[in-house]
Symmetry: C2
């Protein structure tokens, strides 16, 4: 909520709201402040029994916190299924960081054989951004859906919701939710101010709807599990407060970290496209972005060979960690070689450029094919 909460001019201080993430994110502190639960070994053990082995993103604690995942798994054990729900605010093109939780969502869908509701919030992006138009957010909604589908989701159990087009499906539930949220609650949860427009004030009710829509469509009352970045948590807190009064399960969540950007300190923002790799970036653009990325390297090659570098602050290393080195032994070896000065940044960058461009090339092929099937995913077509 950049323009609204007055925090935009902070000095590197952590800000995590549904509309803004700034500063160095302290995830332990978020668990405390948001009141979510860490993933315990016991819970991971239970998860593992259903997923053969833990997904890389769990193993590496990219997903690190939850609400009621234990409840959902206990219900599952008793034969009660659940649905997945996540989404995308279509303000522009999709980058690698956006896809990280979607890849994990795809894994959960496959292992638990569940339905996914994917909400494209073209209304939200229009209402919160003074300069956006509905034509733009609709266009990005379509483009972003192609990226989702390219990750391997199937139309049989993936239901894409485009808010503006599909509002007649959502509105009755949104009204029931909205009736239970006072302006006062919305203000304290989301930081709304007198200058906030009334569409934005209402909007949290719409983000709640996919938690509950499965019952409307199928008659089955099952919980929703939401894999998403932790900045979205405030929405679900409000939704959880009223779910049972409306006759639904509380939505459960599993929260992930943000893939850091390529700038110094992991900085990344929509206004700095050079700090993210977008799915439509051609190979030379990817190469250029990676070569300009902030690393943990030393001033000179000689110095680095002697003293080693620091992968803990390196934006490139995070790309390996999040997605591009799935072999944990190889990742550890890369880290060791980096710290020991056995490998310079150039080598590491060349490797990631190659991996990225290979990944993106294949992704774009699948993305192109998705144009033929995208309509089959639309919730209104079902």
């Amino acid at each position: 909520m950049a323009a609204q909460n007055g925090n935009s001019e902070n000095n590197g201080e952590m800000v995590v709201t549904p509309w803004e993430v700034k500063g160095k994110v302290d995830y332990e502190r978020l668990i405390r402040e948001f009141g979510t639960q860490p993933l315990t070994p016991e819970l991971l053990g239970k998860l593992e029994t259903y997923t053969d082995k833990l997904h890389l993103q769990i193993e590496r604690r990219i997903f690190f916190s939850h609400r009621d995942l234990d409840t959902v798994l206990n219900l599952y054990e008793q034969g009660k299924k659940f649905v997945l729900y996540t989404g995308r605010g279509p303000s522009g093109p999709v980058h690698i960081g956006h896809m990280v939780p979607w890849i994990f969502t795809r894994h959960l869908q496959e292992k638990f054989q569940t339905r996914l509701y994917f909400q494209i919030t073209d209304d939200e992006k229009f209402i919160i951004d003074n300069n956006s138009t509905l034509a733009e957010t609709r266009k990005w909604g379509y483009e972003n859906a192609l990226d989702l589908i390219a990750l391997g989701f199937k139309p049989e159990n993936t239901f894409i919701i485009y808010d503006v087009q599909d509002m007649d499906l959502l509105y009755d539930i949104a009204l029931k939710v909205a009736k239970r949220i006072t302006f006062s609650t919305a203000r304290s949860t989301f930081g709304f101010q007198d200058s906030t427009n009334i569409g934005w004030v209402f909007w949290p009710a719409i983000q709640a709807v996919p938690c509950f829509i499965h019952k409307k469509l199928t008659g089955e009352n099952v919980p929703a599990l939401i894999p998403a970045a932790i900045d979205q948590d405030p929405y679900w807190r409000v939704t959880r407060d009223m779910a049972q009064k409306l006759g639904y399960y509380k939505p459960a969540q599993i929260h992930c970290r943000f893939l850091p950007g390529l700038g110094a300190g992991g900085k990344m923002s929509a206004s700095m496209p050079e700090t993210s790799i977008f799915t439509m970036d051609p190979p030379d653009v990817v190469k250029k972005k990676i070569w300009n990325a902030f690393t943990g390297g030393r001033g000179t090659a000689a110095e680095q060979r002697k003293l080693g570098a620091d992968p803990s602050v390196c934006s490139i290393f995070q790309y390996y960690y999040y997605l591009f080195e799935q072999d944990s032994k190889a990742l550890a070896e890369r880290e060791r070689r980096c710290r020991a000065g056995e490998m310079l940044c150039g080598e590491c960058k060349r490797d990631i450029v190659e991996k990225l461009n290979k990944f993106l090339e294949e992704h774009r092929e699948r993305r192109e094919k998705a144009k033929d099937t995208i309509e089959e995913f639309h919730i209104k077509r079902k």
Copy 2:
């Protein structure tokens, strides 16, 4: 906004908001306070050229105030058509008072050959009333639409909008409107408070939509003229402020008075069904309500014969004035006989019971037939 603005416990003081009308309504004061325009002889002259003769409700100043009616007629003179827009909050059955402006709307539609958009605000009635359900407001929406259609509207040029079902048609325009209304403006216009729910806060954007929807459906940009009771004026003030920025004409309005209720002082409310005549009231119920109605009569027949009665405070006389004595000479004669003590309340009540029951019987026949055609009026069917 009974529960919200703290005015519910007033002492007969006038309160006129979109959600509450209380106390003795001073229409001259409303024109001043709301900043609307009185109907001038010049404007009425222009209206008359298009309507053969002035409608009874204009002649008797039941419609008494306007915004931009002159602009709409000037544009019409230049060949630019307009559309009509009015509506109904389906919180319960329709009574005679609700139908008064609809009858006038039907007249305008016929004389100007224009399209009518009729909004049934089942969402609003749900969101503002703690005890209502969507099933109820939907049911009343259907029932109320039957009463509208029974007044002679034709499906060719009458488009009924049911908000909850049709929100996918309305939502894009509602978002554009909402983006231009801050919470601060909404609060000062509608008296919203911290305890107001966020659905209610958003709702004014939805009431604005039918002012603009004609352009979306047909490509024609024409103004909307809204015949409605004056309590709805605050909505249009906000809508007018932004209309041109969104590329539309400002909606024009023509405002009517409220048919007074049958209680003392013209009191009428949904919680006192005995003070209104509903379209589904059987003859004996109508008779009972009329016999219990507040009149300007004296304590005894002898006294009344001697001193005469006072039609200016009589709720029954208002029924003749608004709808049931269209012959102004006959009305004047009735008033004279009343004042002179030549006619007692019993005679006058017997007459109105007969007229009311005849009107309602015919209305209910047309209402029954409307069940066959109601779907043809639905905007989504077009």
